[in-house]
C-alpha cells in the first residue's frame, strides 16, 4: 500500500491501521504545520518525508503491540525547521531505522525518541549534515524493564563542506534489570573542521539520591520509581502543540508505567 500525505498548515492527524506493508510519503512546503501519526496496527512501514521552508513538528506514536519494522527517511530542504519525535510503550518487538539528511543550507532537525521497552527494540538513528549551517539535535530516552532488550545505534554524520554545522546527541537508558540488556552505541563521523558536535550516552539504574529525595517527601519506593520513570518519558509529548493530545498521551504513559510493576 502506498500513500502520500500533503501537510496542511496547522494541526494534522493521520492513523496507520493496516496489516499490509505501508509506504507513506509526507510532504510539507512553505508553512507551519504539525502532524500526529498514530500507529494502531502495522507490520512494516516505510516513511519518507520531505520538508522545505517552514516549521514542522511530527509525533509518531506507536500504539500497537505487534512486531513492527519502521524505516524512516527524512529529507530536509532549505530553511526547514523540523522536529520529529517517535514514542512508544509498545509490547511488541520493534526495529526502527531512521535516517535524516539535511541536504540544503539552513535547516534544523530535532529528533527525539521515548521508549518504554518490555520486549525487543532495536534502533539505528543517523542524522547527516550535508550542507552549510545545518543543525541536528538528537535525544533518546529509554526505560528498559527487566524483560526488555534494547539496542541503539545513534550516529551523527557531518559531511565535508558542511561549514557551521552542529550535531549534538544524548541517549539515556534507565534499566530495571540486567544492565547488559541495554546497549547504546553513540557515534560521530566528522569530515569537516568548522563544526560543533558532541555525544553523551548513559545506561544505568535509577539514581539512589533521586529516590531518597522523593521518598523523603512521603512517596513510597514504588511511587518514586514510577514518578521518575514517567518523568523520563513524558517530555516527548511537548513535541506536539495540542493540549488535549498531550494530556491523552501523558495519561497513556502514566497508566502503562503504573500497570507494568517495574520493581
Amino acid at each position: 500500500m502506498e500513500e502520500t500525505l500533503v501537510l496542511k498548515p496547522g494541526f494534522n492527524t493521520y492513523t496507520i491501521d493496516t496489516k499490509e506493508d505501508l509506504k507513506l510519503s509526507i510532504v510539507g512546503h512553505a508553512m507551519d504545520s504539525s502532524l500526529y501519526v498514530l500507529i494502531k496496527s502495522a507490520k512494516k512501514i516505510n516513511l519518507h518525508t520531505l520538508f522545505s521552508d517552514g516549521n514542522y513538528h511530527i509525533l509518531y506514536w506507536n500504539d500497537c503491540d505487534f512486531n513492527v519494522v519502521i524505516n524512516e527517511a527524512n529529507e530536509l530542504k532549505e530553511n526547514s525547521v523540523v522536529k520529529v519525535a517517535f514514542g512508544q510503550l509498545s509490547m511488541g518487538n520493534v526495529i526502527y531505522d531512521s535516517k535524516s539528511v539535511l541536504e540544503c543550507p539552513n535547516s534544523t532537525l530535532h529528533l527525539k525518541t521515548a521508549t518504554l521497552n518490555n520486549n525487543d527494540k532495536s534502533y539505528r538513528i543517523e542524522c547527516i549534515n550535508s550542507n552549510v549551517n545545518t543543525h541536528v539535535e538528537m535525544e533518546n530516552h529509554c526505560i528498559n524493564t527487566e524483560k526488555g532488550v534494547f539496542a541503539l545505534e545513534a550516529i551523527g554524520n557531518i559531511i565535508k563542506g558542511s561549514k557551521g554545522a552542529t550535531n549534538f546527541q544524548t541517549s539515556r537508558c534507565l534499566t530495571f534489570g540486567d544492565i547488559k540488556k541495554a546497549n547504546i552505541s553513540p557515534l560521530l563521523l566528522i569530515d569537516e573542521n568548522d563544526l560543533q558536535a558532541s555525544h553523551a550516552a548513559s545506561v544505568g539504574q535509577i539514581d539512589e539520591n533521586q529516590m531518597y529525595y522523593l521518598q523523603s517527601r512521603g512517596l513510597t519506593y514504588k511511587e518514586a520509581t514510577n514518578l521518575i520513570t514517567i518523568g523520563y518519558l513524558t517530555p516527548i509529548v511537548d513535541f506536539i502543540d495540542d493540549e488535549q493530545l498531550k494530556e491523552l498521551l501523558k495519561t497513556k504513559i502514566e497508566d502503562k508505567v503504573n500497570a507494568l510493576c517495574l520493581i
Binding site: A200, S216, G218, G231
Partner: protein, 272 residues
C-alpha cells in the same frame, strides 16, 4: 505533640564511623540550632534521622512520639511528620514541581487533594516565598539557581506541614530578602502549627532571625557543647578554638568534594 528523641546514636558511612553517640531531644515549638565545623557530622545526623540508605545506624535509638523511627522506611518517616530540607536537593528531569508536590500530598491522604485547592495553596505559598511563578511548572530543581532550590525546599515544607522540620544550611545561597521571608515563614509555622525545628547553619544572621531556643555543637560526631542563643553568639564571635582548648578535642578536618550530578558520559552509573 511531637517529640523526636535521639539516644546514643552511632552512624557509619561506608564502614567509617561518623556519629559517635549523639543524644538529642526536640519537642514541638522548640527551635534547635546545630552548629559545628565542616565535615563533623551535622548533615549525617539529619540524613540518619530521615533514613538515607547510605547512613547506617550501628547503635542507639531514634523515636518520634514513641514510635520507632529506625524501623520505618524513608517515606513512612515523612508521613509520620518528619521533614528534611536538604543541603543538596536532587534534580529530577521530566517531573514538574507541581506534579511532584501533588503526588506527595496525595501520598499522605486517603482522598486525593482537589486540583483547585492544590493550585490555590501552591500559588499562595509561591507568592509568599517570592518565587517565580513558572517554577511550579519547571522540572523539579532542574536548572534552579542555588537560592531557588532552597526556596523550593521551603515551599515543600510549607505544603507538607511537618511536625518536625530539619533544615540543612537552608540559608546558604539565599539572598538577604529571601532569608527574611524564609525565617518569617518558619516563625509562622512554629507559632501556628507548633512545628519543631532542627536547623543547621553556620551563620548568625539566620539564627538572629529564627531565635533558637536551644543550641548544640557537633565536633567529630559528638555533641560537645549545648546551650541557648548565647552559644550561637559566642561561636559567631570567637569560632570553635576556645571549645577545642577547653575540652581538649580536635575537629575532623578532612572534607569530601561534593558531587552535584554525574557528567553526561557516566556510562553504567546513575542516570539522571
Amino acid at each position: 505533640m511531637g517529640t523526636l528523641d535521639i539516644r546514643n546514636l552511632y552512624v557509619e558511612i561506608e564502614g567509617r564511623e561518623i556519629l559517635k553517640g549523639i543524644d538529642l531531644t526536640i519537642k514541638d515549638k522548640e527551635i534547635h540550632a546545630l552548629m559545628g565545623p565542616n565535615g563533623n557530622g551535622k548533615s549525617t545526623l539529619l540524613a540518619a534521622i530521615m533514613g538515607h540508605p547510605k547512613y547506617v545506624v550501628t547503635n542507639g535509638t531514634i523515636t518520634f512520639d514513641g514510635q520507632d523511627v529506625l524501623s520505618m522506611s524513608v517515606d513512612e518517616r515523612s508521613k509520620a511528620g518528619l521533614f528534611l530540607a536538604m543541603q543538596y536537593p536532587a534534580e529530577i528531569t521530566g517531573v514538574t514541581n507541581s506534579d511532584f508536590l501533588r503526588a506527595c500530598l496525595n501520598a499522605r491522604s486517603e482522598e486525593p487533594i482537589p486540583l483547585f485547592q492544590f493550585i490555590k495553596e501552591m500559588e499562595s505559598n509561591i507568592k509568599k516565598l517570592n518565587m517565580k511563578k513558572d517554577l511550579a511548572h519547571r522540572f523539579l530543581n532542574e536548572g534552579f539557581s542555588g537560592g531557588e532550590r532552597k526556596r523550593n525546599e521551603i515551599l515543600q515544607m510549607r505544603m507538607l506541614k511537618p511536625s518536625i522540620a530539619m533544615l540543612d544550611e537552608i540559608d546558604s545561597g539565599l539572598d538577604v530578602d529571601a532569608i527574611k521571608v524564609v525565617s518569617a515563614g518558619l516563625d509562622e509555622m512554629v507559632k501556628e502549627s507548633n512545628m519543631g525545628l532542627l536547623v543547621v547553619s553556620h551563620y548568625k544572621r539566620f539564627y538572629q532571625l529564627i531565635k533558637p531556643t536551644h543550641a548544640h555543637v557537633i565536633v567529630d560526631g559528638k555533641i560537645v557543647a549545648q546551650g541557648d542563643y548565647e552559644l550561637v553568639n559566642k561561636i559567631d564571635g570567637e569560632g570553635y578554638d576556645w571549645l577545642y582548648k577547653e575540652l581538649k578535642i580536635k575537629p575532623k578536618t578532612e572534607t569530601r568534594p561534593i558531587v552535584y550530578s554525574l557528567g553526561s558520559c557516566a556510562v553504567n552509573k546513575g542516570v539522571k
